[in-house]
């Protein structure tokens, strides 16, 4: 067992190195050994995939890397990231080497001979590296063709396939990180927030929070291992982190489209509370301009009336209890302001009036 774990770690290092310029020192023999190693570990994956104890041990060793704090750059792991990756580690290694310009000509030539032996025994293709690489190329072409011809972004963001895929990946990774270390997910997410474009990240977060409880793939794995992972757990760490970071939740509520936020708020009451709090806060920043007859803000980052109204309108179209909660909040704010019926005195009055007439 120990030797297996050691080999796992060492191969992980090799995999990490395969992406760097260090490969310029590799010759054909090195490439051969690396590929053999990968093949061996793939065999290990196949053999011990259903063996809960061994699999657990291997997973744990791989998860260790997530425990490391700090680390520069958004991609902490260059090596093997999880047990699943073992299943196609030879593919990962091959792709990295193929793309690495630092690999010498002789070594590269050898690599090609190994990976693409040419037309051989038909039917045996599926299991081979040659087959997998060709399939990958084919699938990428397929994605491209779909995107450029018939595909269009789903207006319901959480059902858009690109969003869904990213969301699924995020939750999967969070689960692994979480198993390695309790504090893991939070730190991991913070690191992502620092390094990735915020807009996409926020959308993916929203989509992740709206994913159905448990994807079929996970269910399959769960039943295989006899390891009940509670369905609701998946988004919990994400939610926890989101609500804990004021900078993020504010950006979340401010920048995402109203409809999307309504869906998230409807699904997660904790979010609806924070969201409503922020909305009321933003509302209080506006004052009534008597001359123009509209509510305006003083600073550039103030949320304009139209947007505020739009968000409230979307919330009021949600099913109860969210809808009721929103109306209750608005009414109580209105009452706090003096319960005026006349427009222009309290923004809450005006909002309620506008919502009633608009609805």
């Amino acid at each position: 067992m120990d030797s297996l774990l050691q080999q796992l770690e060492r191969f992980s290092e090799v995999l990490a190195v395969s992406r760097t310029t260090h490969v310029s020192t590799w010759d054909a023999a090195t490439v051969r050994r690396a590929l053999q190693w990968a093949r061996y570990l793939r065999h290990v994956h196949r053999r011990f995939g259903r063996h809960a104890r061994i699999r657990k041990a291997l997973e744990r060793r791989l998860q260790n890397q997530w425990k490391q704090e700090g680390g520069s750059g958004p991609a902490p792991a260059l090596g093997l990231t999880n047990f699943q990756a073992l299943g196609h580690c030879d593919l990962l290694l091959s792709l990295r080497l193929l793309a690495n310009r630092a690999l010498g000509d002789a070594a590269f030539h050898y690599l090609l001979q190994e990976l693409f032996p040419g037309p051989g025994v038909p039917g045996a293709e599926e299991g081979t590296l040659q087959g997998s690489l060709a399939l990958l190329a084919r699938r990428r072409a397929a994605v491209h063709m779909l995107r450029s011809s018939a595909y269009r972004e789903n207006p319901v963001l959480q059902e858009d396939s690109l969003m869904k895929t990213q969301a699924e990946l995020l939750l999967e990774r969070l689960q692994e990180v979480g198993e390695a270390h309790a504090e893991g997910p939070g730190r991991f997410l913070s690191r992502l927030w620092e390094h990735l474009p915020h807009n996409n990240f926020l959308k993916v977060t929203a989509a992740a929070l709206l994913l159905p409880p448990s994807s079929p793939r996970h269910q399959e794995e769960e039943s295989e291992l006899g390891n009940p992972r509670r369905a609701g757990e998946r988004g919990r760490e994400l939610l926890h982190w989101l609500l804990g970071k004021s900078e993020v939740i504010v950006a979340f509520c401010r920048n995402l489209p109203a409809g999307l936020l309504t869906s998230v708020a409807g699904r997660h009451p904790e979010v609806s509370r924070v969201y409503l709090g922020l909305l009321t806060d933003w509302g209080r920043h506006l004052h009534y301009d008597l001359q123009k007859g509209i509510w305006i803000g003083t600073e550039s980052q103030d949320v304009p009336w139209e947007e505020l109204y739009g968000r409230f309108q979307s919330l009021c179209q949600a099913p109860p209890p969210l809808k009721d909660e929103v109306l209750t909040t608005l009414k109580s704010c209105k009452a706090q302001d003096g319960d005026f019926e006349v427009p222009g005195l309290s923004i809450w009055t005006d909002l309620l009036l506008a919502l009633e007439s608009g609805a």
Binding site: A99, R101, L136, A137, A142, H144, L162, N200
Partner: protein, 562 residues
């Protein structure tokens, strides 16, 4: 080899030109044209590879100076990369360009360029979804990890959009625009054999838009049909049914493909034919009358062309049997009246023919036989009736359910020597073996058959029963003139039945057959008879262990000899 390379050079020029026109296949015309040539281009690539792999990198450049251009252009065309094995063969060709040990900057540059192109194939179209790439990298995933999942999600999303159209019949907003559906069908052409695309192909096939004309691209149907016939894609019957209903050429190809298989595979094995038949999904699809009519028409044509070849007849009978089985599987009321399947036949005749002998006790089989015979006689010999088709049409109808004629022959033989053979059965046999005869000739045939039967009956009780006698009884006509060939076939059949059923006959079986089988054709006929008989007995559950054993043994022996 020299000739090959000359052919290759001229093809080369043709393809370089084509690729230059196609570029990235971003317009409708270039996409359509690319799709038409995908199989041929792949074949060309294979030939190129065979030529290139014998050369080293420098020789390649000498021989094909513009090879780089050709390969680069091919790599930029997503339709080519998406098709079948083309991406793999392109990679092989590129591998031939790599120099293990470049001696000068030129060779180094070539290496560098080739590596770039290889990278492009395997890591292509990156810029397309930059945010996704960044995000997944941040998570520590490689494209190899998530591309299968992404493709699956995209396909599912498109499938649900297509199916939504069914539910939102008149809701124009959520309906997928016809142009998008068409474009989607175009994109699918190179990808029908990719397993991830199966749900999408199925959804497209079963998609019914609001437009009166066909919205899917015709080449799409062709590509799906090809893939289906070569078993490169798995589709449910409902999808295949839609394919064949919407695209007649595909249906015709499917039937021809079946015919080819039947001809090339082991003939005279009905069990295997039944397997092929069911596998092809044609009997199930034929529950839809439009499809049945087309298939039937092709059988009719084949029969006419081959002048009633027994193999075609047998195949048609198996098809009909499978078809009837499929019809009965649709538990509820049959959706279409029988008349839609057999529009030229008398409905009551069809009803009787469709009866399953299995459902009737063996002792009562003579009743439906008599009915069939009488009805046919009335239709065929009554010249004033023109509506139910001539003799050929009715014979063709009867041929679908050939089992009845076989049963008639059997019935005559099992009761040989007892009573007078029923006229109805004699008529049926005579008609089925030569439908073209006039009433007089037929009556003559019936008399001949009667004579043979009574002769056989006498021999049965005679002590001088021998193989030679039996053969003589069957082959000699009353007047000593040679009988017409169809009649000879008929008497041979009667004799064979006799050998299987009459206890005295069984003992002589081998000897008689040896004497009978004077030509290959006759041997063939005997093997066919035995195979068909066993097949029929299996289906009807006929209990005749002695006859069955004999038939099986004979069949094995004769097949071994052939």
């Amino acid at each position: 080899m020299a000739q090959d390379s000359v052919g290759l050079s001229s093809d080369y020029q043709f393809w370089i030109q084509k690729l230059s026109v196609w570029k990235q296949a971003s317009t409708l015309e270039t996409q359509q044209d690319t799709c038409l040539y995908l199989p041929q281009f792949q074949e060309f690539l294979r030939q190129m590879y065979e030529a290139l792999k014998e050369m080293d990198s420098n020789t390649v450049i000498e021989r094909f100076p513009t090879i780089g251009q050709l390969l680069a252009k091919a790599c930029r065309n997503p339709f080519i990369l998406a098709y079948d094995e083309s991406q793999k063969i392109l990679i092989w060709c590129l591998c031939c360009l790599i120099n293990k040990d470049p001696q000068n900057s030129g060779e180094s540059q070539l290496n560098s360029w080739t590596r770039g192109l290889l990278s492009h194939i395997l890591a292509a179209f990156r810029s397309d979804i930059k945010e996704v790439d960044l995000f997944t990298q941040g998570l520590g995933y490689a494209p190899a990890d998530y591309y299968p999942g992404l493709l699956k999600n995209m396909v599912l999303s498109l499938v649900s959009e297509l199916r939504e159209n069914h539910l939102n019949g008149f809701n124009t907003q959520s309906r997928m625009a016809p142009e998008r559906v068409r474009s989607l069908s175009r994109v699918c052409v190179p990808l029908v054999t990719l397993p991830d695309f199966e749900p999408l192909v199925e959804a497209l096939l079963t998609y019914h838009g609001q437009e009166p004309q066909e919205v899917l691209w015709p080449e799409f149907f062709g590509a799906v049909n090809e893939a289906f016939l070569l078993k490169k894609i798995c589709l449910p019957v409902s999808a295949v049914l839609c394919l064949w209903l919407r695209h007649l050429p595909s249906l015709e190809k499917a039937v021809l493909h079946l015919f080819e298989k039947l001809v090339s595979s082991e003939r005279n094995c009905l069990r295997r034919i039944e397997c092929f038949m069911k596998d092809s999904l044609l009997p199930e699809a034929a529950c839809h009358p439009a499809i049945f009519r087309v298939v039937d028409e092709m059988f009719r044509y084949a029969l006419l062309e081959t002048e009633g070849a027994p193999e075609v007849l047998a195949a048609m009978q198996v098809f009909t049997r499978c078809f009837v089985e499929a019809l009965e599987k649709e538990n509820q009321q049959p959706k279409f009246a029988l008349k839609t399947y057999f529009p030229y036949a008398s409905p009551s005749l069809v009803m009787v023919l469709l009866q399953r002998p299995k459902d009737i006790p063996q002792g009562l089989w003579h009743r439906p036989l008599k009915r069939i015979s009488e009805m046919l006689k009335e239709i065929v010999e009554d010249e004033t009736q023109g509506s139910s088709g001539g003799p050929f049409e009715n014979w063709f109808l009867l041929a679908h359910f050939g089992g009845w004629a076989d049963i008639a022959a059997e019935q005559l033989l099992t009761s040989v020597g007892d009573a007078e053979p029923p006229e109805a059965l004699l008529w049926l046999l005579a008609f089925s073996s030569s439908p073209g005869d006039g009433p007089q000739q037929r009556a003559q045939t019936m008399v001949e058959v009667k004579a043979v039967l009574s002769h056989l009956g006498r021999l049965l009780r005679s002590p001088t029963l021998s193989a030679g006698n039996l053969l003589a009884a069957a082959e000699e006509s009353r007047e000593g003139d040679p009988r017409p060939p169809a009649c000879q076939q008929l008497t041979r059949r009667l004799l064979l039945n006799f050998l299987l059923w009459a206890p005295g006959g069984r003992a002589m079986a081998r000897d008689v057959i040896t004497l009978m089988a004077r030509t290959d054709e006759i041997m063939h006929e005997i093997v066919g008879f035995l195979d068909q008989t066993l097949y029929r007995w299996d289906h009807l559950g006929v209990d005749a262990p002695g006859s069955r054993k004999l038939a099986r043994e004979l069949l094995a022996e004769l097949r071994g000899q052939a």
